[in-house]
Symmetry: C2
Subunit: 395 residues, 2 copies
């Protein structure tokens, strides 16, 4: 009996693995969050953050909360009780938007798709036709749906909304999407976009970023919803003096500060390409092991996480346990109705081909241990072929 | 152009990768090295260190130096100028013993083997027959020869020396060997054994451990060699008060303190088994890529590092460069006469199968890029098969 899992390879879609440089940055000593050093860091994060959301006019706020807090902040600051909203739901995180909107008294319509499907512009257009002009306060949806591994066509959906319902706020949860695939807040005319430190930012959980258009800022200032911790009117006032209204998660913000350095060093467009390639290689590798992909259309496959159906006769949870306990690789479980039916391999944030190879090799061994007739090395080979389609940077 | 090497996988035979827990331990604040906290750490390292060298009667010293410093300490404390020694040389580190002994005035005989061969007991016995009783002060050799990837049969060689030349000191460089394969100081009657923090201890470089038998301690006390920094008579005196004669590398010693916790948690015998299995899997994988192994006899193959000849027509240095620059995997170069002819993949210290898979997959891709007709995934599959021969611990 030998322990062959002395290292852990964390392949869940957040928290993701954190580079040592960021972990060490997070170990920095505390500072006065009302002093000049904090102002400097916050200024950098909100100013350069505009380049990540691709907005010149929008405001970026740092909130001390998880991604869900960011989603709640988007809702409570913009939507009054009794107002009509539409949630475009492709999975569990769509359902979370539904729950948040209902908790704060909105009238919620939901347009759903089958698990593994992305939003269909025609279906969305048809749904939008139901609302009289000025009667739909907001449409809310995910750029990347983590539970099913779907990348929604944000640009097309946003264009439809703006065309059919010009004053409606477009609220996009990009918590697991930002930096994995393109998102252009100004060009696509999005109103509120939220992101989270523990995803492609490669940082510990605890900080959400919220980008807000000037259209949304007007709605926020007019919004009557009772709110305090997440009040963006207060946040805007404090931002001008380089502060946050309440005590911020300083360690995580140190991490974000360092993450920005790494992100701009690699280049945002290169990060998109890396994620796309990791997705393609993971999908090719997984298919070669005899597993099935939940998302069949690669064009809408998440760049952050791949949802996988194990082969006939193999239990998803038993497989996750085998891979974790024997080989030290952590895959994510299914959520909601997919719990026990799928497992998910992430390729989000601080990951590169070496992680893909290790994950696929361990997946193959676990499948074989559980009786699946897998050919060892075949999944790895398929991933290698995918990676070799591009010319990597030579350092 | 995508950067697919955002992570570095360091597969050289020291410094090896350091677990985060040890890196963080190394970040501890400085303490007075003449106070009770340091005494406590040193006591632990030297007392429990006896279990690593497998000695009840020997003394263990902490030296602030590299492994080479440990080798020098072994020589300058035991061998007087003009005394006859025999170095059993299987590679570059054997040559280092030759240089150190000569630098301090010993009369040095050298018994060499071809690169990739281990010490042959019959040849050693024949050489030992040349010395009149009492005329051979010491025999020096490596447990693990890092330059060629050879594991010497320490037990057999030591037994021969003790039988043919009972008073001769047996001095073993176990810098890259300790914890990768069994070494029993008392049972095999070894006199001086040295180890280094940056090898299987998974810690930063800067500390050597020296284990000394009571026979060697008498020689040390009688030794006339001029010495100061490495003087073990002084070290022994200070050890009794829980100190070192000179300022120790406190951060590295913090790391060693934490490394001991990890080592005893995994278990010394389990660590041997893990290294043996990583060796077998690496060798199987490498062979399947079309590369050749420098050490053909697996029984004497290093558990720490595998020396590899690239396929016909592939330059070893070009291959190392390709693997490093495109895929972020660092293999070691050849040393001495093997420079440019071989490369070396380590499996020493903080490594597990996931590293092997990543390294082999990247090696395969680099071989293909350099025109070698390698079948992708085949090396990984061979390693998978090797790992699946054992029943891993289920956590």
């Amino acid at each position: 009996m030998v322990n062959l899992a002395i290292k852990e390879l964390l392949m869940i879609p957040g928290p993701t693995m954190v580079p040592l440089d960021i972990l060490l940055a997070q170990a920095g000593q505390m500072i006065n969050h009302r002093g000049p050093s904090f102002k400097q860091i916050q200024d950098k994060i909100v100013t350069k953050g505009r380049d990540l959301f691709k907005t010149k006019n929008g405001s970026v706020f740092i909130l001390t909360c998880s991604g869900t807090g960011g989603m709640e902040a988007a809702v409570v600051n913009t939507i009054n009780p009794g107002e009509q909203v539409l949630v475009l739901k492709v999975g569990e995180f769509g359902e979370r938007f539904v729950k948040i909107c209902k908790a704060f008294g909105a009238v919620v319509d939901v347009l759903s798709v089958e698990p593994g499907q992305a939003l269909q512009p025609t279906a969305v257009a048809k749904q939008l036709a139901n609302y009289a002009p000025g009667n739909l306060k907001a449409v809310l949806f995910q750029q990347n749906e983590t539970s099913t591994g779907v990348l929604n066509p944000v640009k097309e959906i946003a264009a439809l909304i703006r065309k059919q319902s010009p004053d409606t706020l477009v609220i996009v949860d990009s918590v697991s999407g930002l930096l994995t695939a393109d998102l252009q807040m100004d060009a696509w005319d999005l109103d509120v976009v939220c992101a989270g430190s523990q995803k492609a930012f490669m940082t510990a959980p605890g900080v959400a970023l919220l980008a807000v258009s000037s259209r949304a800022m007007k709605a926020i200032e007019a919004c009557k919803n009772p709110r305090f911790y997440f009040d963006l009117v207060a946040a805007k006032k404090f931002l001008e003096t380089g502060e946050t209204p309440w005590t911020p998660a300083i360690s995580v913000i140190y991490g974000m500060d360092k993450a920005y350095d790494l992100i701009f060093q690699e280049g945002v467009e290169n990060i998109f390409k890396r994620h796309e390639l990791l997705m393609k290689a993971t999908r090719a590798g997984v298919r070669a092991t005899g597993c099935k992909l939940l998302v069949t259309d690669e064009r809408v496959a998440s760049r952050a996480v791949t949802a996988i159906l194990p082969p006939e006769g193999v239990d998803a949870e038993a497989l996750r346990k085998e891979v974790k306990n024997k080989w030290g690789v952590v895959f994510a479980a299914g959520q909601g109705a997919l719990k026990g039916k799928i497992f998910r391999i992430t390729h989000l944030g601080y990951t590169d081909p070496k992680d893909t190879f290790a994950a696929l090799a361990c997946l193959e061994m676990a499948l074989r241990s559980l009786g699946s007739p897998v050919e060892l090395g075949k999944g790895v080979a398929a991933a290698q072929e995918a990676f070799m389609q591009v010319e990597p940077v030579v350092a």
